[in-house]
């Protein structure tokens, strides 16, 4: 029996809008089921309160525009703070594993935040990962396994050049679903190449395909990389009854996946089959986390047909390709991929579907032999029209990069074309410096 700390926060008084999938009702039936199953007072499961995330905890990870006050609501602060609270249960030894079963979700939130996209504003697990590093040191190795049906593009964006984080996302193929990314070719920035691992699965993939990908790709990579902590971004929209995706996963499949992954901390992401899937998935997930018998957990409707053979073959081929890329990631010629110049430049247009915002972003990463490199990002949108410049340091910058970044920041501050010039040094963000 494993002791599980549960931070359950259904936000019964908050919705994006009354009829939105992210509404008061979303975790109601999950609450009913967990309560009726007696899991809130099971000896191995203990419930804890969430808390509000502090400004510095958010700003260590994000750049929020035009400002925290104008963009972040209390619900987002509680979801992020509740996720931090869940991780503290594990760090403080109050639980062996923790589950942040809360909303709103976070994995589509990028580092730069102009508003909500994919129902997400703050990236709960990214904020939590940076909290872990602030407590345990910048050398910490954290693996995030995102099992939501949608590509965890926000989390990927935040950590794509971060050698301390391995981000693995299993999702419905981006050609068939929001946000339209998450291809095998997206493998990370120059400072963490290969540590972004995408496993796009064909629509209709069921338990067999998901568990095959776990067995053949996720677990071997984790064994290879040896993380200190494993986080599961547990979206529950792979379920066959989910109204906005096309996957074939079941509650039993989820529980088995959890048992295989043995995550230290689980964070709820999406999942909008609020009556037919969530109550059963969450009960199965909790039981599996606690090492209890989940064999009798089953959703009311009959399952889909077994996964078609063609999908099984497709999944096998995808797995082969990814594991081969992983094995050869250190041999990659970074000069060929990112160029031989001093900086790697990336320009993007990002659409915020929830808030209907278009962002234009230009990013320059310093290609450095000694550290992941400092960055400067220029961003503007139809919400924040004047360009914001952000100078960012990695968690462990080399002295040269720190000096160059400081100089860049000083120059930008004197340039009047920028609305804001922001400095982000995650390792130096401390509550005492905030005021």
């Amino acid at each position: 029996m494993t002791e599980v700390g549960l931070v359950f926060f259904p936000a019964f008084d908050w919705a994006i809008s009354p009829d939105h999938p992210e509404r008061q009702e979303r975790l109601l039936y999950t609450r009913d089921q967990i309560q009726e199953e007696g899991l809130f007072d099971h000896p191995s499961i203990r419930e804890y309160r969430p808390r509000l995330a502090e400004d510095y905890e958010i700003l260590r990870t994000h750049v929020v525009l035009p400002s925290l006050e104008q963009t972040v609501t209390e619900s987002h602060r509680i979801a992020a703070g509740g996720t931090i609270a869940a991780s503290d249960l594990v760090l403080d030894g109050r639980a062996q594993r923790a589950f942040a079963l809360l909303r709103p979700p976070g994995h589509h939130a990028n580092r730069i935040v102009h508003g909500s996209r994919g129902f997400c504003l703050l990236n709960n697990e990214a904020i939590m990962v940076d909290h872990l590093r602030s407590r345990l040191g910048p050398e910490l190795k954290v693996a995030i396994v995102d099992t939501d049906a949608h590509h965890g593009d926000g989390t990927q964006d935040i950590f794509y050049n971060d050698p301390g984080v391995l981000h693995i996302s299993l999702h419905q193929d981006g050609r068939t679903l929001y946000p339209g990314t998450g291809f095998i070719t997206e493998r990370g920035g120059p400072g963490a190449y290969g540590q972004t691992v995408n496993i796009p699965l064909p629509p209709g993939t069921g338990d067999e395909g998901m568990l095959t990908a776990m067995e053949r790709v996720v677990l071997p990579i984790l064994r290879d990389w040896q993380p200190d902590y494993i986080i599961n971004a547990a979206g529950q929209d792979n379920h066959f009854s989910d109204p906005i995706t096309n996957m074939g996963f079941s509650a039993q499949g989820y529980a088995q996946l959890t048992e295989m992954l043995k995550p230290d901390i689980v964070v709820l992401e999406g999942g909008y089959s609020i009556e037919s899937a969530l109550p059963y998935i969450n009960v199965g997930l909790l039981l599996a986390l606690a090492g209890l018998d989940y064999s009798k957990v089953q959703e009311p409707q009959a399952r889909l047909e077994p996964q078609p053979k063609t999908i099984t073959n497709q999944v096998a081929a995808i797995c082969d390709e990814i594991i081969e890329l992983w094995g050869r990631r250190l041999e990659a010629d970074l000069g060929e991929i990112f160029g031989e110049a001093d900086f790697f430049e990336r320009r993007r247009q990002i659409y915020y579907d929830t808030d209907n915002i278009y962002e234009n972003q230009q990013e320059h990463i310093r290609l450095c032999q000694d550290c992941p490199g400092w960055r400067v990002i220029f961003t503007h949108s139809n919400r924040v029209r004047q360009v914001t410049a952000v100078v960012m340091l990695p968690w462990q910058p080399c002295p040269g990069c720190r000096e160059e970044a400081k100089e860049q920041h000083r120059q930008l501050l004197g340039d009047e074309q920028f609305g804001q010039v922001i400095w982000q040094d995650p390792a130096k963000v401390l509550p005492a410096l905030e005021s």
Binding site: A11, E25, Y29, R31, E36, L39, R49, D293, K296
Partner: protein, 560 residues
């Protein structure tokens, strides 16, 4: 016209307290030792003794708080009881290690009370062979039966054709969601039902002759009729702590919205909290002898620290008091020093021989290199400090209750006390010191050592229901009443209508049980959600939990 006489009796583990009230006046308050092997004898003795000097008094009512059910459960003396369950999918019941066997039947009701799969008739007809006809007590419990009792009801109908014993249905005991607790509660209820029936027969003879009406105290501090107690004996467990708290409600002058109740006895101290003028209840229900139940109960935390606790001196730690009992204090002729002896030696309490206590402290102090007075005062301070830590732990526990709304997280319920109210024989000595330590005003109840009996006498009937309405399905359910009905105009059934219906049904239920239904019906808890399917509102779900709240009868304290 003279005010009516009434009697309150609290049968405790050590003593049985009895009070005779005339209106709000205490006419007599007596104490007899409890004979655990003859609770009935102890009770009748107390009754006769309290009525001794008032031959003319023919009390209209007797309120009885007894440990009968509690003891039967704690000592494992319940009748053999079989449990039939309809678990549906979910947690494997076999993994929950119930200390009794269960029969599991097919059938499945979901969280909205919809039947997903029906009972299997051939399984039901086989039950007769599975259970045998000898079984004297039975419990039938289905998952989500509080949302739809149909499976439990039809099983009872079938089983009652051949089973002549007691049958408890899970949904009648509580409207709360918690299947394992519902199973345990129904099981315990059936297992103690025969004993309660015997109890009922004994007291029914007394009822109407010596006494007008006999009512039984419940764990929630309310009363129920003898007949009712035979149906739901489980509700009479743990009525002792509830009696004390009712005593506070009847006697305390404290006008604070939030205060702490400390009931100090010889062996244990019980803590309870009043918040916004109401006593806090257990979130799910009482826990008894390791059994987690759905029985509504005042939230009281008991700890092994009392006037007669054992005192140890440990190198490093210092003085440790309790949790076990030392026995009679030295000042009263006992052999071991106790906190009561510390109070006696320091002149804080006039109990027994002050000199005997002082001598004993001197003797022990000598071996530790301390003066007797110094040692006694350190023990006294250690008692207060230990109690203070327990109070802190108690409020820390209360403040860890989960919160599910942004409103509550931003402004969490304020639970901390603004005053301390004490009762129990050692209370006058220790409560002022505790309150002083906490920086709060204090009050010790008059009749501090009989407040439990007064509380029993002052208690009134409580009845509550849980209404669950689902306007998409057009259904409304009140499990406690076994009621399930159709909503006539579901679209117009809003939370306001749910509240009025819940109030109306609460009164109807109270009347059907023979209680005064004229008191205020208040809403303990409510919830209301829009149900949206495919970006369209298809209905609403409302939950309203009520409680009929009659005023506790106020009792006058001594005027000095």
């Amino acid at each position: 016209m003279l005010a009516a006489f009434m009697v309150g009796i609290d049968v405790g583990g050590t003593n049985t307290d009895a009070v005779l009230l005339r209106g709000a006046e205490v006419e007599a308050l007596i104490k007899v030792p409890t004979d655990p092997s003859d609770l009935l004898g102890s009770t009748t003795l107390a009754l006769h003794k309290v009525l001794e000097h008032y031959k003319e008094a023919k009390p209209v009512k007797l309120h009885l708080s007894t440990t009968l059910s509690t003891n039967a459960i704690v000592e494992g003396r319940g009748s053999p009881t079989q449990v039939v369950t309809v678990p549906g999918p979910g947690v494997n019941l076999k993994s929950l290690d119930f200390p009794f066997t269960l029969v599991e039947l097919d059938g499945y009701i979901d969280h909205r009370g919809r039947e997903i799969s029906p009972l299997q008739l051939e399984q039901v007809s086989r039950l007769r062979n599975v259970l045998g006809e000898s079984g004297e007590a039975l419990a039938i419990v289905g998952k989500f039966s509080q949302r739809n009792p149909a499976h439990e009801q039809s099983l009872k109908e079938e089983i009652a054709k051949w089973h002549k014993g007691i049958i408890t249905l899970g949904h009648r005991l509580s409207g709360r969601a918690n299947f394992p607790r519902r199973i345990v509660t129904a099981y315990l209820n059936s297992s103690i039902a025969r004993q309660q029936l015997e109890f009922l027969r004994v007291w029914q003879k007394v009822q109407g002759s010596a006494i007008g009406e006999i009512l039984i105290l419940k764990a929630d501090g309310g009363t129920m009729t003898l007949e009712d107690s035979a149906e739901r004996p489980i509700e009479s467990i743990l009525s002792g702590p509830a009696a004390s708290i009712m005593g506070v409600k009847a006697l305390a002058q404290c006008a604070e919205a939030n205060f702490l109740i400390v009931d100090i006895g010889g062996t244990t101290t019980d803590l309870a909290a009043v918040v916004d003028g109401e006593v806090l209840f257990e979130r799910d229900g009482a826990t008894i002898s390791g059994y987690k139940t759905l029985v509504p109960a005042v939230l009281a935390r008991s700890t092994g620290l009392g006037g007669d606790s054992r005192i140890r001196y440990e190198a490093g730690t210092g003085i440790v008091i309790g949790p076990e009992r030392a026995g009679t204090p030295v000042c009263l002729g006992g052999e071991h020093l106790t906190p009561t002896d510390a109070a006696a030696a320091l002149g804080l309490a006039s109990v027994g021989s002050q000199e005997a206590a002082r001598q004993a402290w001197r003797d022990w102090g000598e071996s530790l290199g301390l003066s007797g007075e110094k040692l006694a005062s350190e023990v006294f301070q250690a008692f207060v400090n230990q109690l203070r830590r327990l109070v802190e732990d108690f409020y820390t526990e209360l403040e860890s209750m989960p919160l599910y709304t942004i409103r509550e997280v931003l402004d969490p319920p304020r639970l901390r006390p603004a005053a301390v109210v004490g009762l129990g024989a050692p209370a006058p000595v220790f409560i002022p010191a505790l309150a002083n330590n906490m920086g709060l005003p204090w009050e010790v109840l008059p009749f501090a050592s009989g407040a439990n009996a007064i509380g029993a006498a002052a208690a009134r009937a409580t009845v509550g229901v849980t209404l669950q309405a689902d306007t998409q399905l057009g259904k409304v359910t009140i499990p406690e009443m076994g009621y399930q009905g159709d909503l006539h105009r579901p679209l117009f059934f809003d939370l306001g209508k749910a509240r009025s219906l819940a109030e109306e049904k609460t009164r109807e239920y109270a009347e059907s049980l023979g209680y005064d239904a004229s008191g205020e019906v208040y809403i303990v808890e409510e919830e209301s959600f829009q149900m949206v399917r495919g970006f369209r509102t298809v209905g609403q779900t409302h939950m309203v939990r009520t409680q009929l709240r009659p005023e506790v009868c106020r009792v006058r304290g001594e005027d000095g």
